[in-house]
């Protein structure tokens, strides 16, 4: 059951992150002031992909809630990082972000740590 929850969480998170980053880049820079937050909320309602992204996030979140209930926090949170490489690869392919050598090496190091954490 633990791994079913981890799988649901990871796939939903990857989908959500991609949709979010894609749509927010299209929306342009956002600010953190009171007006910025109001504008941010309006952006969320106006953009379809953001709503879809939030639905994915909700799915991932409920899986995470069930996971932290039964598994230790120091397992559940690192396990969520399993989405890491999937997302980095998809960010390169779909969002056309450039992944440099240092960045790729750093990401791989993080992944090694995450695998070790999950064991």
């Amino acid at each position: 059951m633990t791994w079913v929850l981890v799988t649901v969480m990871v796939v939903a998170t990857a989908l959500s992150d991609l949709l979010q980053s894609y749509e927010m880049k299209r929306a342009g820079e956002q600010s953190v002031g009171a007006r910025g937050v109001a504008r941010l909320l309006r952006t969320i309602v106006e953009r379809r992909y953001l709503l879809l992204s939030i639905a994915c996030l909700a799915f991932s979140f409920f899986a995470f809630m069930a996971l932290v209930q039964s598994a230790p926090l120091s397992f559940a949170v690192p396990a969520s990082a399993a989405s890491f490489i999937l997302e980095t690869v998809l960010a390169k392919i779909l969002l056309k972000e450039q992944i440099g050598v240092r960045r790729a090496a750093g990401s791989l190091l993080v992944l090694c740590g995450v695998v070790l954490l999950g064991r």
Binding site: M65, Q69, P72, L73, S74, A91, A105, V110, L116, R119
Partner: protein, 137 residues
């Protein structure tokens, strides 16, 4: 905006996001572990669990963290934001160890160190490699 102001704002948003998410997760873990029923596929159980003050507080903190992250993603690449989020795993291990009294093995601490190294390496690369897309709206 000058590049330095932009960088400072990016890192402030990152700090806000990490703190809210780490303590949000802690509240959520504390709350769900003390619930009378087990969370599964039943949506009603989730709704009832949100009546618990710790679960509710945790969710509120995570919602604000999500908003901070949305703002962060508008100024930085997903492949910059994601590796920096790795610091959150270190925070989770620390909070789990000290507040929830979880046993964290030496292997796990080694993993935490690896994650730190990776995150530090990635943070020395450019934050944004794509130019903002033209809005079609």
């Amino acid at each position: 905006m000058p590049p330095s102001t932009r960088a400072i704002r990016t890192y402030l948003l990152l700090l806000l996001f990490l703190a809210l998410r780490a303590f949000g997760n802690l509240c959520l873990a504390w709350g769900t572990k003390h619930l009378p029923e087990k969370l599964a596929a039943d949506p009603l159980v989730y709704l009832r669990s949100m009546m618990d003050p710790f679960v509710a507080l945790g969710i509120a903190m995570l919602i604000v963290a999500l908003l901070a992250r949305l703002a962060l993603l508008s100024v930085a690449d997903l492949s910059f934001v994601l590796p920096m989020t790795a610091i959150g795993y270190v925070l989770a291990a620390l909070l789990g160890r000290f507040f929830l009294h979880e046993a964290v093995s030496p292997q796990r601490w080694l993993a935490v160190t690896l994650i730190f190294g990776g995150a530090a390496l990635v943070s020395s690369t450019p934050q944004s490699t794509t130019s903002p897309m033209k809005d079609s709206k």
